[in-house]
Symmetry: C2
Subunit: 370 residues, 2 copies
């Protein structure tokens, strides 16, 4: 079951919507067309609002049509109704487009658009890009849904991407995202053989799985959330193999606690490694209201560099390529670090994000080989 919401927009000469009469005329024209699409349509409320008016029509089976006329020359039409999964839609996308073009002609609009019907159902199909654009995914099933002490964890199935991990309502990694892990680790450009590596986070297991193929000396994966690993071990085997089956292997260990505890222990022991991966929270999108997140990130970065060999590298994901402000803020943070660091950037299109993503490779100044 789901609720379908159909959104239609029209722009027109503001002079035609400037007074009550004008708005009434346009509304009547729209109503004439609407009546052919929604049976038994009746005007139920007519409300004067700041900057325009709102008319509510109700129709068969509880269908509701809201027509909002804005003095400034815009008209929005929202059609909303309940649909059982087995029922045909009252208005398909094809019908919505015909409805839109008929209405456009009737009211002589300058411009118009019909959005594909929005399906508001029991599981989310909609996720944002890094720059807060709306994307509808072809999700047809929720496989896992649990609130851990740290985050909301979902695994959903997408027809085109396979299973997909969703953390706090953000798409995280899917079975189609090998490129994400390979870009993060710069496969083919870095040599991990015989190296010591720390992963901060990485609970989906994909990075650990891919790194172990490169014959490292030892990998410590520091993940706080047991539930993520449980979910991925069950539903994301194609990206993490068997590495999450047990906490320890011949050349790796998964330590389930706040990663800072292990980092501090390494500091006390004077232990330094060749590579550190930052596979934790994304860089905050903007600084507003995100003070804590930025501080958290800077603290981690500072601590991580203290357990990194002078020839070592810190590898991490950045943000969407269109989130320029956020990327710049991150680079400012890097440029202020002590001791000084230099960084390289790599861009890759991540299938489940449906956008280009930026990855950083950071090393101590004077030690960058490239």
């Amino acid at each position: 079951m789901s609720v379908h919401t159909i959104l239609l927009d029209f722009s027109m000469d503001p002079a035609r919507l400037g007074d009550e009469n004008g708005q009434k005329t346009v509304f009547n024209q729209l109503e004439t067309v609407l009546k052919e699409y929604v049976p038994n349509l009746l005007l139920t409320a007519d409300i004067k609002v700041d900057g325009g008016s709102l008319k509510i029509l109700t129709g068969k089976k509880g269908a509701i049509v809201s027509v909002r006329l804005f003095d400034r020359g815009l008209v929005t039409v929202n059609i909303e109704y309940y649909k059982e999964d087995c029922e045909d839609p009252l208005i398909s996308f094809k019908s919505a487009k015909i409805l839109e073009s008929q209405m456009k002609k009737y009211i002589v609009a300058l411009n118009s658009q019909a959005l594909t019907p929005i399906k508001r159902c029991l599981f989310g199909r909609y996720y944002p890009t890094s720059d807060e654009r709306l994307l509808e995914y072809d999700i047809d099933e929720v496989l896992f849904d649990e609130q851990s002490p740290f985050q909301k964890i979902k695994i959903v199935h997408s027809k085109s991407l396979g299973n997909m991990l969703v953390l706090d309502d953000l798409q995280n990694i899917s079975e189609a995202d090998l490129i994400y892990t390979e870009t993060l680790m710069q496969r083919g450009k870095e040599n991990y053989e015989g190296k010591e590596i720390v992963i901060l986070g990485g609970g989906d297991g994909a990075l650990l799985y891919e790194l172990l193929k490169e014959k490292p000396k030892y990998v410590w994966m520091l993940e706080i959330d047991e539930v993520v690993m449980k979910a991925c071990n069950k539903y994301m085997k194609s990206i993490c193999g068997d590495v999450l089956e047990q906490r320890k292997g011949p050349n790796y260990e998964i330590i389930v606690e706040d990663c800072m505890l292990t980092v501090k222990r390494f500091m006390q022991e004077g232990r330094k490694v060749d590579y550190i991966f930052g596979d934790l929270t994304d860089i905050p999108i903007s600084d507003a209201d995100c003070g804590e997140l930025w501080e958290f990130m800077i603290n981690i970065l500072d601590a991580a560099f203290k357990i990194l060999k002078t020839t070592g590298k810190f590898m991490t994901h950045g943000n969407g390529a269109t989130s320029i402000d956020s990327l710049e803020m991150y680079e400012q943070v890097l440029m202020k670090m002590e001791p000084a660091v230099v960084f390289h950037k790599t861009k890759a299109f991540v299938p489940s994000f449906l956008e280009d993503w930026i990855f950083y490779q950071i090393s101590f100044k004077g030690n960058d080989v490239e």
Copy 2:
């Protein structure tokens, strides 16, 4: 200027929305939270509808909140308001997510989601996938907007894709889509040197431009719509170079008329070519209401094969990889053709479609080399 529509969904135990009192209680809880986000909120209409109820609240600056409570256990909240480009949003996506989680807690919902605010402005940012999912593009400008005798032609600018041709409100090709043309022509797998080629359609010029790099003997491009070529020649130079500057070059000709006329002339003259490209309308998504489109496509296919050498190939784009029914119908058409043909398929992710696309390579049975 634009109208922002914020959509929030909640699902809950239907028993709690089963009668008027239950719906009132839930609504009051929602109203309490909403009042913190939308100033001066007042209940303006309370409408009993089939299967539930609808409450309309109006707030400061003409903001409207519609709360729809469905007996079946769903609640939808739509917030709509007018925003000048220079104004801050009344409710950002971040605020919407906080609002959603507060409301979810208050009404003890089972599930909830907040969509990124929908921006309903003078130019469309929203386009569908082949399986009618909604995608919001990072479009910030309309460069060209004209209705030709054949179609509605727009060129818009996307921050991540560059300029993008939009025909009848469907994304067609962008400056980031070289892979589309290269997959269509199977660059590196087919040898066009010294070959005679017909392009059916191809008004954006990209295919002609790329083919000419391969030193063909002669290319006839048969495009009906002069306006598409005018627009692309001005705004899509990076994909079509100078090929649309004039109608004739040393080894090509653009014939501006219904492509069937030239195909018939070739038939009468007994002229046959090595390659034909179908770069016209997409395969219809379903057969419902699309009889004419299918018939058009079959006629073209039939005629094209009559001017193709027995060793020749017909190359065309199919549909989105998730539109399985439509692809199957197309293959059924191919399988019934006389003389018999065989086909190969290639899949490529097309950046501006944000989905995998299927391309067909068709040849006469007994003459497929692979």
